[in-house]
Symmetry: C2
């Protein structure tokens, strides 16, 4: 393991797209979506990173309300490596603070920032791309990772790629917001655009400088937290200052403003698992295209996703007869049945529950 390499795993998130499995206190990264239903996305992320980083160099940034669940999910991560944001303020304050914590420990730190709730199916390719990105970042340029697109996806942002660099990365020309279908098809056909996975790599001191330059209010807040930390007062100052930060993403607040950014081209079966539809696509299927627990009874049924989040040991039997392309999700206190093609409309259920005051179901 490289002595100056560190990782920040962003594990906040309050998504409702996986209701009823995902809840305020059990967000998406705590679920086992995709090919490994028995391993949460968060745990899988940390496991992958442990190929490259020693576990005491892996930091988890999460919300205060998720601290207990996150600690329980990651028994191998030391308590001081779990960073609890008092309130959610998007990714720039999160990364700036976590970066400051790491820099206090190791001024020579080189840092990877990744999301806790993505799926990677080719872990060898991921490890190689990560290694390249960290080596390029060590040279003093900030780095992003661009995923070679496999379809004209309109749900992702893109990165335009320039000439290849001597170190194996490419110059990043610019970020492109989520495109419409025609533009997405053009971009993918051109070969010059990669998906923005939201993974970033930098020397800690380079990020400090970039924040100070592009988000000076945030930079001054971080300095105040650093100063308080030297007096053993970090927690108090964090409570005071963090809520005052603007909620801005690191992409918009910092990365898009850099005059120079490198991008590592990569292809490792990446997905941000944005919906139940995607979760079905990533799952292991039987010969009829069903992804279901072993005990399910499936008769004349095809292409269904069945997920049982009931308490362990409930031994619930889920039986489908003559249905196709459905999502069926059980929990102890809720059941969802819908066609996979309607996955985007889960939010309408969440809205209905909010309107009825069923906050215990959210």
């Amino acid at each position: 393991m490289h002595p100056h390499w560190y990782a920040i795993v962003m594990a906040g998130g309050a998504g409702t797209r996986f209701w009823p499995a995902s809840r305020r206190l059990r967000p998406k990264q705590l679920l086992g979506l995709g090919p490994r239903p028995d391993e949460s996305l968060l745990r899988a992320t940390v496991r992958r990173l442990s190929h490259t980083f020693s576990s005491d160099h892996i930091y988890i940034a999460t919300g205060a309300h998720l601290l207990d669940a996150t600690r329980a999910e990651l028994p191998g991560i030391a308590p001081q490596n779990l960073l609890a944001e008092p309130v959610a303020r998007n990714t720039a304050p999160c990364i700036a603070w976590a970066n400051a914590v790491i820099r206090r420990r190791d001024p020579e730190a080189v840092v990877a920032v990744l999301s806790a709730d993505h799926v990677v199916t080719d872990e060898g390719a991921f490890d190689r791309a990560l290694d390249l990105a960290m080596r390029v970042a060590s040279s003093g340029v900030m780095v992003t990772m661009g995923i070679v697109p496999t379809r004209p996806e309109t749900g992702y942002g893109y990165i335009e790629v320039g000439p290849e660099r001597a170190d194996g990365a490419y110059d990043a020309v610019r970020f492109v917001e989520k495109p419409d279908a025609a533009r997405a098809a053009e971009m993918v056909a051109s070969g010059r655009y990669l998906w923005n996975a939201g993974f970033f790599f930098f020397r800690s001191k380079d990020m400090t400088e970039a924040v100070d330059q592009h988000l000076p209010l945030l930079g001054r807040g971080i300095q105040a937290i650093d100063a308080a930390a030297s007096q053993g007062e970090e927690a108090r100052m964090l409570e005071q200052v963090f809520p005052t930060f603007d909620a801005v993403s690191i992409d918009v607040g910092v990365m898009e403003k850099l005059s120079r950014l490198a991008v590592v081209r990569a292809s490792f079966g990446w997905s941000d698992v944005g919906s139940w539809q995607t979760a079905w696509e990533l799952s292991n299927h039987d010969q009829d295209g069903n992804a279901a627990p072993a005990g399910a009874v499936l008769i004349d049924s095809r292409g269904n996703l069945v997920a049982d989040w009931s308490s362990k040991g409930s031994g619930k039997v889920i039986a489908l007869v003559g249905v196709e392309g459905l999502v069926v999700v059980e929990t102890d206190d809720a059941l969802l049945v819908m066609p996979r093609s309607r996955s985007q409309d889960v939010r309408r259920v969440v809205e209905a529950l909010q309107q009825r005051g069923h906050t215990d179901k959210l």
Copy 2:
């Protein structure tokens, strides 16, 4: 209430057509299917009969394994009116024994036999038909009830009707087994055929004589039980004799063999609730044709039946998005999702569970 009128409610049954709501220890008559989900079919049957019979004249014939559940469901029925068959032997032994119990109490008894698991939506019409049938039976002819058909149903048996009698009933010409679709259409168009609801009415002594004549082995067994009863030994003799009876229906064993049988024409919104499809048809629907618990969240969904048989107080939220014509049935330990049109295939789930040895789910 007429002092010599009695009712036998047949509440055995081990149906699997309402899995997962119906189970070996919670058969169909213990469920609230149809228009009154909060009242079991059994309780509704007894409530209807209480318009015509005093409650201590209402007898419930059930299986020994269902005795506790039946008693719990009917707190107003005295324990001595609950008759537990040691084993199921179809309807002839059941009725012959229950009839003997009643005749010992009242040699002048006139008896109605009805099923515990049918739905009646026009209770006034039911009461009037019942009263007529009992009055006709009191004159010494056995009586059946014929339901005016509302469609060319192939799932029911029919009764061919002859001339009207002076007492307002008709002569029953013969029973017709479940017909094919063409024959059913002919019969319904002719106006001469009624559905056989399986309700029978007779003087107790007439049934004793009919059993002795047409099912002499059963008749002798009942005599042995009667003799033992006079010695306080009924339970012991029942255990010994009942299992030796042939499993034969009262229709085939007795009614079809009678030289003279009357039929009361009736029309009271009758159904034997043979499937989840029928349960949906009989249920109260919202404007989109959904029958669902009040707490369900239904978005862009039409014509669904949602039934929650989870423990009371679980407060489970069932959410449907964009689905049509489904049956969704929840219990504490099972979930069924299928199109209404596949209701007949519930048995395939039950068979699969039997094959896997999941007898706890049956």
